[in-house]
């Protein structure tokens, strides 16, 4: 591939991800509004919010690491998006694969954890301890899913996974071939998005929004950007593993937004679990489904 073409892809992929992520945030807020019988925010509200947060006059920093944590949180996702193939663009997806992507997406979380740690606020630290526990909770079933998918397609290369599904049509899609794993993946997805019922680490009334407690201005703005990327990454990864990726941009977008509809609709109907119950929940049902799914993949 020509280097210029690659450079364009590497620039476009995070930009597109960000734009779609903004729309996903909008969708999340509109769903919440509908369920709560409100009208919801206007189309450009997520963008307004970021601009507002960045241009606030009071920007409180607790030190270099606080700032660098935000840089890592945003930058890590910018990097991760180039490993996630989208229609017409593979970026450097073939240099990494799904395991690398899984671990690369831990870098933003680490950045956030470092930044919060520097703030010296125990509410933040408690939040991070809970967030990391949540990661342990949802990543174990998610890894079962990854293992099953990698075994089924015989590769960890996401480009190959998409190509195999698209060559075989809907019968070859991950979701038809491995329905149990796809179901387990939905549980993990719910955890990954950090929405109810798995958002004890934010718990505004108890620990003052946890990791966000000392975040204001562009620090919070950075986390907002991170959330856009997070929504995009989670849903596109699910589409890539189970729904045949995107044949073109229209089906790709349709699938990505459709996938997010499920966890988002569920989120606003449930109260939050305590940490212990979240662990029990995520280590019981998705694990059972996932392990059963693995048996079918193996046989």
């Amino acid at each position: 591939m020509h280097w210029l073409e690659l450079l364009v892809e590497l620039t476009l992929m995070p930009l597109v991800a960000f734009a779609i992520g903004l729309l996903m945030v909008l969708m999340m807020r509109r769903i919440a509004a509908r369920l709560q019988r409100r009208i919801g925010p206007p189309f450009l509200q997520p963008l307004y919010d970021i601009v507002k947060l960045f241009s606030k006059r009071t920007q409180t920093s607790h030190g270099l690491l606080h700032e660098f944590g935000i840089v890592m949180a945003v930058g890590g996702y910018v990097a991760a998006e180039t490993l996630l193939p989208v229609p017409g663009m593979n970026g450097i997806a073939e240099k990494g694969g799904m395991i690398t992507l899984l671990y690369l997406t831990m870098i933003p979380s680490l950045g956030l954890a470092l930044g919060v740690g520097q703030c010296a606020n125990p509410n933040g630290s408690i939040g991070i301890s809970r967030a990391l526990t949540a990661m342990l909770a949802y990543d174990i079933p998610f890894v079962v899913v990854i293992a099953g998918v990698a075994m089924h397609f015989g590769t960890t290369n996401l480009v190959d996974v998409v190509a195999q599904q698209q060559a075989g049509g809907i019968e070859a899609w991950g979701v038809t071939q491995m329905p149990l794993l796809a179901l387990a993946g939905l549980f993990a997805l719910q955890g990954m998005l950090g929405k109810q019922p798995f958002e004890i680490y934010v718990a505004p009334a108890e620990i003052a929004t946890g990791p966000m407690v000392e975040m204001g201005g562009k620090f919070l703005g950075g986390l907002f950007v991170m959330q856009c990327f997070q929504l995009y990454t989670a849903s596109v990864l699910y589409v890539t593993l189970f729904l045949g990726g995107g044949e073109n941009w229209i089906t790709f977008l349709a699938k990505s937004f459709a996938v997010l509809l499920i966890p988002m609709s569920l989120a606003f109907l449930f109260p939050r679990y305590r940490t212990e119950d979240m662990l029990t929940m995520l280590w019981k049902w998705p694990m059972l489904l996932g392990l059963l799914g693995l048996v079918f993949v193996g046989s």
Partner: protein, 625 residues
Amino acid sequence: MIGALDALLLLALLAVPLSGLLATSRPGRWLLVAGYVAQFSLLAALGSGTAPASALTFDLLGNTVGWRFDSLGWFFAMVTVGAAGFAAAYASGEWGDAHHANGGSLRWLYGGLQINVLAMLLLLSSSDFISLFIGWELTSWSGLILMLLGGSEAIRAALRYIVYAIAGGMAVFAGMLVTHAAAGSLQFDVVQGAVASMSSGQLWAIALLFIAGFSVKMGTMPFHLWQAPAYAFSPGPASAFLGSISARMGLFAIALVAFKLIGVSQLDRLSIVTDRFDLRDLLAWVAVFTAILPTFVAMRQNDARLLLGWHGVGQGGYMLLGLVIADELGSAGGLLHVFNHATYQAILLMAVFAVIHRTGTADLNRLGGLVARMPLSFLAMLIGIIGLAGLPPMNGFVSKWMIYRALILDGQPLLFVATVVSTLGTVLSVYKLLHNTFLGQLRLEHESVREAPWSMTVPMLLLCVVVFVTGVAPGLVLQYVAAAQQAIGLEPVAFILGGIEADSGSLDMLWITAILFAGFGIGAVLFYLMGGRSKRVHQLDNYAGGHFLTADVQYQYSDNFYAGLMHRIKPWYRDTFAWAESALVSVLGVVSSAARGFFDQANPASWALIGTTVVMTWMMWHALA
């Protein structure tokens, strides 16, 4: 003309008395560091591949005993001498003076370090079972010197270690006897040839005895209880050396005996449940449990040294797991992890001991906020924990990735999931280490703490460069790993500078790292060039839920850091293994006190009377019936 190997061994031998002489003065200690540089250069000059044999050789019981490096031993030896050199440099400046002033013995520290290196070189270059056993015992006992230097707690742990080490040595010796009986020789080449004609019973005995004996040193479950306290409480540089490489001698010996001498095809004769589950599968599961359980034990520790010690045990599980998968990718991952672990574990222990040097404690509930006072030590620990947790772009990620991939391709999804469980646990645990030491609120008594002296930070930061560079360009190390694989009869891994290129999924760390740093760059541009200027505030300028904060209020979340998780998983492991060990001890105690009671009996005749009565009653009962 003296051979290169002999020159190396002689230098190492000569450096032992020199260490005793020179260690008390600063220039003397720098000379000793230069001695390690010389040993490292000599070793590097020997080169990977078939090196010349030592001139030291003798006949014993019809066996020729000798020493010669192959690529496997050489690879381990490079890591060993390198680790010792960094440890020696770390102690050469202010740390050594402080240790001396506090009544610690530098002569024993440096002498013990050099004796360890010598013993390990002898073990790693052994070329028959007798030299292997000599090296094994020397290594076991010389480790004890360093462990005993750490004071009362360390001595208790060291006494425990002795029992394990003797038991392990006995198993190895018994394995040698069975081998001699089965093969008629203790020469490696003769044994190698005889393995195919051994009965599976003989092979079982040999494999089990050797692997159990060597596993003791590895700290593989169920022999894992001694290691963390024994390594953790020895003085800083000794702890860094022991923690980074010492336990890997067990892995080396397993690789040598199980793979080079017995061989994978012969090992696969040892099936447990038909063809579905054999000795290698058993070892893989043992390795996985060794990777998981100690990790979650580490998470509970409140002493930074013990936390790292338990992770050392756990990471050993990855290495063994990679090795027993025995395909090109997995075994390369396992061997590469030896190098990677040695580098980041040394950094982490050095950073912890730098904190101890400045604050006097490694108690994770009595530290915090030190990033503002010791930024370089923080940076070192950050790079170290990214390596230990196995996240890109540090070297720990590459070796773990290779093991994951091998497990998936090998059709072992459960083992894969289990290793990732261990990795996730490690992420949690190392964040606790970093957070409780360097992040959060700085304590009042640490307001005036300064950065560690350059003699301590420079070795740490140099190792950080190694961890980063070998993470970005793992091909630099993989060439030696591939040679080591060939030396033990495995397929060598096909690698590129940036990692692995394969049809079923590649890894190119050059690209991954470049894109990651580009991402950080974009993040930095967005953050620093857009929006308002940020203003630095004091750490007490914080949201405290309406409370008024002053510096004397402890406002740091550190104790029982993962309370929710612990609440859930604690009932799952109630110190089962510690219980089993103490049960064994009490059974032995009861038996020995019974024996002693019998021996000390004031009136033995009464026992004889009781015994005779019982026997006669029994006989009469039978006669009547």
